[in-house]
């Protein structure tokens, strides 16, 4: 089974976001970038599918700056066979442009499955047919589809493995193909005007201590906040 996994690098979940001087982008100084946590589920799923099938290839692809090679290496250390980086310093704001560039690279390469983030929480594949479950509001949707298919994976699908030292060493020697990303001219259709921090919440008040404070809390929620 030949599987492609589309990944990206994101600021570490614990990072505090700072806005750059241009007021339109992230100040990357001191920001630690990691493999998108959701992507770990996709990589893990691909590795398990290949292991189950007993043969195949897991190819990890990303669009991003040169530094994204490091992120791809993380997935190679988990066990992916090779990586492709479509290199660009200008990541399009429009997801469709990214999707087109990835699709152009993957098209015709004979992939049975292409995994991205994020919605499928359960997956079964038999022959050329798959059944997936995805969370919707207040329930789970059961979806049937033919292969080859593009699937988006969610937390809960599996328990991603940690790269072992052996994997980390091996990852350094695995092929990672870096080529310039081919992007369409339609980049200006979504123009970033500004990036701002979310509005500060004004500091609230401690109503009191212990259960004795509850009646006053309820009064405030009713009369001041008017939410009850």
């Amino acid at each position: 089974m030949k599987i492609a996994v589309c990944i990206k690098r994101v600021p570490d979940s614990e990072t505090r976001v700072k806005i750059a001087a241009d007021g339109k982008s992230l100040d990357e100084a001191g920001v630690k970038f990691i493999l998108n946590p959701y992507d770990e589920f996709a990589v893990e799923e691909a590795l398990r599918r290949k292991e189950k099938a007993g043969a195949g290839e897991v190819v990890v692809i990303a669009l991003g700056p040169a530094a994204a090679q490091e992120t791809i290496r993380t997935t190679l250390a988990m066990g992916a066979d090779r990586g492709i980086l479509l290199q660009t310093d200008r990541i399009p704001t429009d997801g469709l442009e990214v999707a087109k560039a990835l699709a152009a690279e993957l098209k015709g390469a004979g992939f049975d499955l292409i995994l991205c983030v994020t919605t499928v929480a359960h997956l079964e594949i038999e022959g050329m047919k798959g059944v997936a479950e995805r969370e919707i509001e207040g329930g789970v949707e059961v979806v049937e589809f033919p292969l080859p298919a593009v699937l988006t994976t969610d937390k809960g699908l599996n328990e991603p493995r940690y790269p072992a030292l052996k994997g980390i060493m091996a990852a350094k020697k695995k092929p990672l193909d870096v080529k310039p990303a081919t992007l369409g001219a339609g980049g200006g259709a979504l123009e970033i005007l500004a990036l701002t921090p979310p509005p500060e919440r004004k500091e609230g008040k401690i109503v009191g201590a212990g259960p004795a404070a509850v009646p006053e809390l309820v009064r405030l929620l009713r009369e001041e906040a008017k939410v009850l």
Binding site: E137, E141, E191, P197, P211
Partner: protein, 324 residues
């Protein structure tokens, strides 16, 4: 003159609440663009609630039916909507950024070769162009975008656009949506337990963290949620979901759901930055924690320092009194 298409959502033949939010957002754009709001519903037959859509600002309500459209049909829905968009002079198309909308809107956008502004929390028309604000980096920053060209395609984050009454004619039209449903087929919906609300849509969320000490203790939160008479859902922090105490569907925060309820009650949650990212847009936040220095108190409007096992039952009792 440029009209706005609002793509509504139904389940089991009834409109979902998020549909009225979509109409409200569409109305705001249509007022600025000087056009009409057409509300579009795909279904297998008549849909309950469509007569209400005019109240929130739809000039026309169009129901297109196909026997395969009882459940969401990704390809059939996307094709039908794209055709409708091409046949009208729409300046903007508004979807819900619900579970279904997050699948549907990108399909329509790809079909039309147009960009999509997803998960929008505010919108406007400036110098004739649609501008939107969407949270990025899991809510740690807000990005303002200008959508050039038409139609501007956007999806609205649920629970952000409060439905506003703006009575319009709401003239009903219906027709058939011909064509195949597609290769990807939704076979069934396994519904969650009757009466349970999804955290992404509940107006009130009572969330628990490690302070609950063990999974069985979530009972105190379930009792508090129940006291709100069907308006509250129980959420959870990443720590307790990772520990397997609660399902991932209930997780609030960066690797879970981003929520904006009217009232968020954080119980035994310290307030890690990735949790705050998921709930900081709640209208009112209440924190109950025994550690007076917990970061959650920095974002909470009201806090009680104390043992949650004493405070929460008392709160449940007081809320029950209100609902008499």
């Amino acid at each position: 003159m440029s009209h706005v298409l609002a793509v509504l959502e139904q389940r089991d033949g009834a409109l979902r609440k998020v549909s009225y939010e979509v109409v409200t957002g569409a109305r705001r754009l249509a007022d600025a663009l000087g056009g009409r709001v057409d509300a579009l519903i795909l279904a297998s037959g008549a849909v309950k609630g469509t007569e209400q859509v005019g109240r929130y600002g739809a000039d026309k309500v169009i129901t297109l039916t196909n026997p395969a459209f009882a459940l969401y049909a990704p390809e059939g829905y996307a094709r039908t909507i794209a055709e409708r968009i091409k046949s009208g002079s729409y300046g903007a198309v508004v979807f819900a950024a619900s579970a279904t909308g997050k699948d549907l809107a990108p399909r329509v956008a790809a079909g039309l070769g147009r960009p999509l502004a997803q998960d929008v929390v505010d919108l406007a028309v400036e110098n004739g162009a649609v501008t939107v604000i969407r949270p990025v980096y899991a809510g740690k920053a807000l990005m303002k975008l200008k959508v050039a060209g038409t139609p501007a395609l956007l999806s609205l984050r649920p629970n952000v656009f409060t439905p506003v009454e703006r009575p319009k004619a709401g003239t009903q039209e219906s027709g058939a949506a011909a064509g195949p449903a597609g290769r990807v087929v939704v076979k069934a919906i396994k519904a969650a337990e009757a009466g349970t609300l999804d955290v992404a849509e509940a107006p009130i969320i009572v969330s628990g963290g490690r302070g609950l000490k063990e999974p069985a203790n979530f009972k105190v939160l379930e009792e508090l949620a129940a006291a709100f008479a069907g308006r509250a859902a129980v959420g959870a922090s990443r720590a307790v979901v990772d520990a397997g105490w609660r399902p991932h569907a209930d997780q609030v925060g960066q690797t879970g759901k981003t929520v904006s309820p009217t009232l968020y009650v954080a119980v035994g949650i310290s307030g890690a930055i990735q949790h705050l990212a998921g709930m900081r847009t709640s209208k009112v936040i209440v924190a109950i924690n025994k550690d007076k220095d917990a970061p959650i108190f920095k974002v909470a409007d009201y806090g009680i320092v104390g043992d949650l096992f004493e405070v929460v039952p008392k709160l449940t009792e007081e809320i029950k009194k209100l609902h008499g």
